[in-house]
């Protein structure tokens, strides 16, 4: 694509990349401070146990150790962990450092501060702890039984229990020609950012101010949560977030970061904690891990008559304070209808706590849970009916002219065209040819399959009761030299906002993006606001920046009009100047540099500015969603997401039937995220998202044994896909602008992760159709796949 200097829809190279690619990125762990101490954390080796005694005497004597703190001692400096989000769930009383009881392998128990990390870890080795081991709760069945209670005061292990029904589902099923029911499961996995969590806390006892530098997606939310947890005034805390090596949702809470704050507060010195990979696997935010029973009725024309879903999820030890994971289940609960028209709906969500690590956000946040079982179900129903999975989807898709469309569970979908997306995807994948080739290849003993999944990516959440509440403030300012700065709380986590937000402003201001700097990552610098999560950037932040830039433009035009003696309505901004529209006369034009200089320096504001305008060339706009609805309707329904990108994803896989190895040959997707700001970045987000989906489908799995120990704690045993496992990915775009955002943009970035596990699994079943393979569990390990093939062969032999 040709590169131009301004405007939307242009694949501009990312402004941030030269810094990252040449090693000039600056991450939290790169920062060293005078007198800084390093932390190591002694973590629980037990999934569930009472702490009987802790002996730190030997460790305290180790030269270089500055302080050792137990959970009980920490109560002098901290309260319980603040609540991130609380919607129809129980909130446990949990602490940054375990207190009385441990609830997962890896829970922090004792903290050591020492002159370096080596000594700190040596000291951890010298601490002796006696535990009274309790029965552990590992599976959903354990939790329901229960084998033990995590929070005795609850009386059960249920953190989330929610039901909703609209219409009479039993009557709908009674009137159906076909009814299908399947239980579909998904393994537990995590975001694995390449930079794990890191935090430097620096409490100054003189000023009583705390500066917290950390790898976070949401500096302001972290600041608020730290203030609430430590019970100190929020205005005395400054959170700085430097370059971030990925977040994927896993860095949205003040969890372990609080530990560094506690230690610095106690010691009055800067302390650093760098999470290692083992710690991240154990205690970083985890996701998925559910069993979902879906029942769908079809009439004689294969039109859906009703849907009933029961979702059972294994949250782990908590999903409200350690991390904001629990409400993901509710998101799933309202989005199971997905891309389809569901006339009658009945849903039940049960989230239980177990002795696994905490539940947080991870690329998908329940939209993936809504997608996988239903998109699998569409294929399973088509297989059983002997019809095309394409036809079944086409008959039930929401139609283009039905938007804005209200999903039966409440969400309002802004725009889209699934039928067209399906056509594009099939054509670009050359679907018919692939299916012919499949037959030819089978004769040669090669098993290739094609799988389809429709995609719905609710983006830009505005959720009540917590940190995901859905607003965004942006400030745009012009400097005296006539260039620009954009300030928001929207952290750069690799998604390209240092480029896309300037593109949005440049489009309004008629300047080069090189003349615009995006400032973020410091709570003392930017307006209070939320971070990147829920694919909200192109819904909320882009809209806020766009509106703020328009305000600034209006002000600049008024000043320029005054100076040029031209009505501001007749002015335009072009190439860094303001001029009378179309005019080439120097008398009817003023450069932004000249304008800024005149206002601020030569001569300065008096006389330069028209009556009624102030000198501050800085405009702030706070954007809120026009479509979010928190007031429940008669059925208790609300609308939390503003925009809804759509797509159809096709995966092509090949299976070695001798070994069960699965290779993904190719992904072709049609995608619609409304108005596109930077096509290259959109394609990159889709590709990265698919890579995450491939991980979940083929290899990633947090495996807990029966005693509740995580058995794969490192990247040698927890496998993420590499470039070798991620195939060629082709993306094709439709642009159905959102009516709910000023530019028609829709947030995106999770859309690759949401549909790809179903596309891959559907493709695998298609490849192995001769063996009647039915996928039971993810990930699709060679052993499992070979087992299903063998089962199919045996069944075949009987016939």
């Amino acid at each position: 694509m040709e590169e131009t200097k301004a405007g939307l829809g242009v694949s501009m190279k990312r402004k941030e990349d030269p810094r990252f690619l040449t090693g000039y990125g600056r991450y939290t762990d790169d920062i060293e401070m005078n007198g800084m101490l390093h932390l190591a954390i002694l973590r629980s080796p037990h999934a569930h146990a009472r702490i009987v005694s802790i002996d730190t005497s030997k460790a305290k004597q180790l030269p270089g150790v500055a302080a050792i703190l137990t959970g009980e001692e920490s109560l002098k400096y901290t309260g319980k962990l603040a609540t991130t989000i609380d919607i129809f769930n129980k909130v446990p009383e949990v602490y940054p450092i375990a207190h009385k009881k441990v609830r997962f392998v890896g829970e922090p128990v004792v903290i050591v501060a020492a002159t370096d990390r080596y000594i700190a870890e040596d000291a951890v080795d010298l601490i002796e702890i006696e535990y009274d081991v309790l029965p552990s709760v590992v599976t959903i069945e354990d939790a329901v039984k229960p084998t033990a209670l995590l929070y005795e005061e609850w009386g059960d292990n249920v953190q989330q229990d929610w039901k909703s029904n609209i219409g009479d589902v039993e009557a709908a099923f009674a009137n159906s020609a076909h009814i299908f029911e399947e239980t579909i499961t998904h393994s537990r996995y995590t975001g694995t950012p390449i930079e794990s969590r890191v935090c430097i806390a620096d409490y100054n006892p003189g000023s009583k101010k705390m500066t917290v530098t950390c790898s976070t997606q949401a500096p302001h939310q972290i600041r608020t949560l730290i203030a609430q947890t430590l019970q100190i005034p929020e205005h005395t805390i400054r959170v700085i977030a430097p370059d971030i090596g990925g977040g994927y949702g896993s860095k949205l809470q003040a969890d372990a970061e609080v530990i560094a704050c506690i230690m610095s507060r106690m010691l009055g010195r800067p302390v650093k904690w760098t999470e290692d990979r083992v710690e991240n696997m154990l205690s970083g935010m985890q996701s998925r891990d559910y069993s979902c029973t879906v029942k769908i009725g079809l009439d004689k024309d294969y039109i859906i008559t009703g849907m009933q879903v029961k979702l059972l999820a294994n949250i782990g030890m908590d999903g409200t304070c350690h991390g904001p994971g629990t409400p993901a289940l509710l998101v799933a609960g309202v989005y199971f209808p997905g891309a389809y028209k569901i006339p009658v709906y009945d849903v039940e969500v049960l989230g239980v706590v177990t002795n696994k690590g905490p539940y947080g956000a991870h690329r998908g946040y329940g939209k993936d849970i809504a997608s996988y079982p239903v998109e699998r179900m569409m294929d399973i129903m088509a297989q059983k009916l002997g019809i095309s999975p394409i036809e079944l989807r086409m008959r039930n898709f929401i139609k283009k002219d039905e938007y804005p469309y209200q999903n039966i569970a409440g969400p309002i979908y802004d725009s889209g065209d699934y039928e067209q997306l399906m056509k594009i995807a099939l054509e670009k994948a050359d679907y018919d040819r692939l299916k012919e080739k499949q037959i030819e290849l089978r004769k040669q003993g090669i098993y290739m399959g094609v799988g389809i999944s429709a995609m719905l990516e609710p983006s830009g959440a505005a959720v009540f009761n917590g940190i995901f509440n859905g607003f965004q403030a942006a400030t745009v300012r012009m400097t005296p030299e006539g260039d620009f700065q954009i300030l928001t709380s929207h952290q750069n986590i690799g998604q390209g906002v240092e480029t896309t937000l300037p593109q949005v402003a440049a489009n309004v201001l008629g300047v080069d993006i090189q003349n615009i700097t995006y400032l973020y990552g410091d709570t003392d610098v930017t307006p209070y606001g939320l971070g990147p999560f829920s694919s909200r950037g192109a819904t909320f932040t882009v809209s806020a920046v766009h509106e703020a830039t328009k305000l600034l433009k209006e002000k600049l035009l008024k000043i320029a009009g005054h100076l040029l003696k031209v009505d501001p309505g007749e002015l335009e901004m072009v190439n860094g100047s303001i001029r009378k529209t179309g005019s080439l006369s120097p008398e009817e034009s003023i450069s932004l540099k000249d304008l800024g200089n005149r206002i601020h320096l030569w001569p300065g504001p008096y006389g330069t500015l028209p009556e009624g305008l102030d000198v501050n060339l800085e405009c702030t706009y706070t954007w809120t969603s026009p479509s979010a609805r928190w007031e429940p309707d008669e059925y208790g329904r609300v609308n939390l997401y503003t925009t809804h990108p759509t797509g159809v994803f096709i995966a092509v896989v090949e299976v070695d039937i001798k070994t069960g190895q699965v290779r993904i040959e190719k992904f072709v997707c049609s995608h619609d995220c409304g108005t596109i700001i930077n096509p290259m970045i959109v394609d990159g987000q889709i590709e990265g998202g698919i890579a995450h989906g491939i991980g979940g489908a083929l290899m990633e799995n947090l495996e807990y044994n029966e005693s509740g120990s995580l058995v794969n704690l490192d990247f040698q045993s927890y496998l993420c896909p590499t470039a070798m496992e991620v195939p060629v990915i082709e993306s094709h775009h439709l642009q159905s602008p959102s009516p709910f955002t000023p530019l028609g943009t829709k947030g995106m970035g999770e859309g690759g992760t949401i549909p790809s596990p179903a596309a891959i699994t559907n493709a695998l079943e298609d490849a192995l159709a001769p063996f009647n393979v039915r996928v039971k569990d993810l990930p699709l390990t060679p052993e499992r796949v070979l087992g299903w093939i063998k089962q199919g062969e045996r069944a075949y032999a009987k016939v």
Partner: protein, 312 residues
């Protein structure tokens, strides 16, 4: 993720190294490429008190032609083996084996001697050494001894090496030009630790009668050491055919006896969990490994056959 305290000794010669090993005893470990040892140390799965670094012994890094074949110094990096002209000319299967070891970053540091002494189940050079009846040159305080590959490996992560001995050289025979060869693996991910690895060689006479065939496998034996399939040798004297391959697959599947409890027999304990575990990802059930061993073996012999026919 920092190692426990240790003393560091840089050896400049084999004598230096042996002296250091003698002095510090069983609590010492040799550091060669460090691709396994340093991870284990960083995770405090092992806590040697003394590290004897042999990277300074430059005269252990060589590939030489000898009268019987190739002599490879223990400190030779995987990448050197992979790229060596001598290896390509005289024992090209070693190149295929090397290509299957992890990713190039690991191959740039990891050494052939380190891999053999580490004896991780499935490791590529161990399987190839057993296939080709390689000879290991072991040096200790009493001087040099030669150990055939068939008696070098003892159990998971354990060889016949005594704490005061080190491996200095590995001798591989020359593969004749008419020998077909193959090295393949089942892994869960490109370059990852093999679930099962297989090396095979094949020679035929002009009537397509098999004159020599050998198959060695990794991660299928009860002891966790490379395994030489007996079923393969039974093909000698038979005509090469698809039926013979099918039989081979079945026989090897029946013959191998993978360790059922691979994880409980392993050498180190994972941090934070009470599991005695090696690397969970490569653990597949005994049943799966049997199946894969059979299928992979016939595939490898078939590759070797195609290679002969392709004149490669």
């Amino acid at each position: 993720m920092k190692p426990a305290p240790f003393e560091y000794v840089a050896a400049q010669s084999v004598n230096d190294a042996i002296n250091a090993l003698q002095k510090y005893g069983p609590d010492s470990r040799i550091l060669a490429g460090g691709q396994s040892l340093l991870q284990e140390m960083n995770m405090r799965q092992v806590r040697p008190s003394f590290i004897v670094d042999i990277n300074g012994i430059k005269d252990l890094d060589y590939i030489r032609q000898s009268s019987e074949g190739l002599a490879i110094g223990a400190l030779t990096r995987h990448r050197t083996v992979e790229r060596s002209e001598l290896v390509k000319q005289h024992c090209p299967i070693l190149r295929n084996a090397a290509e299957n070891i992890a990713h190039f970053q690991v191959r740039n540091r990891g050494t052939i001697g380190g891999s053999l002494v580490q004896n991780a189940p499935g490791a590529e050079f161990g399987v190839t050494a057993l296939l080709l009846d390689a000879q290991m040159v072991v040096v200790g305080p009493q001087g040099e001894r030669i150990v055939p590959a068939s008696s070098f490996f003892v159990s998971h992560f354990t060889t016949v090496l005594k704490p005061n001995e080190m491996l200095t050289e590995i001798r591989f025979p020359t593969l004749t030009k008419d020998t077909g060869y193959s090295f393949i693996e089942v892994t869960r991910r490109h370059g990852h630790i093999p679930i099962v690895s297989v090396a095979a060689i094949l020679t035929l006479d002009h009537n397509e009668t098999i004159t020599d065939v050998r198959v060695a496998l990794g991660n299928v034996s009860p002891e966790g050491i490379p395994y030489r399939a007996k079923a393969a040798e039974q093909l000698r004297g038979l005509k090469f055919s698809d039926e013979a391959l099918e039989k081979l697959a079945k026989d090897i599947k029946d013959e191998v006896n993978p360790d059922v409890e691979a994880d409980t027999n392993a050498a180190f304990v994972k941090q934070f969990s009470n599991i005695k575990g090696r690397r969970v990802s490569e653990i597949a059930s005994s049943e799966y490994r049997k199946e894969a061993a059979g299928n992979l073996s016939s595939k490898a012999v078939k590759h070797a056959y195609e290679q002969i026919k392709g004149g490669m």
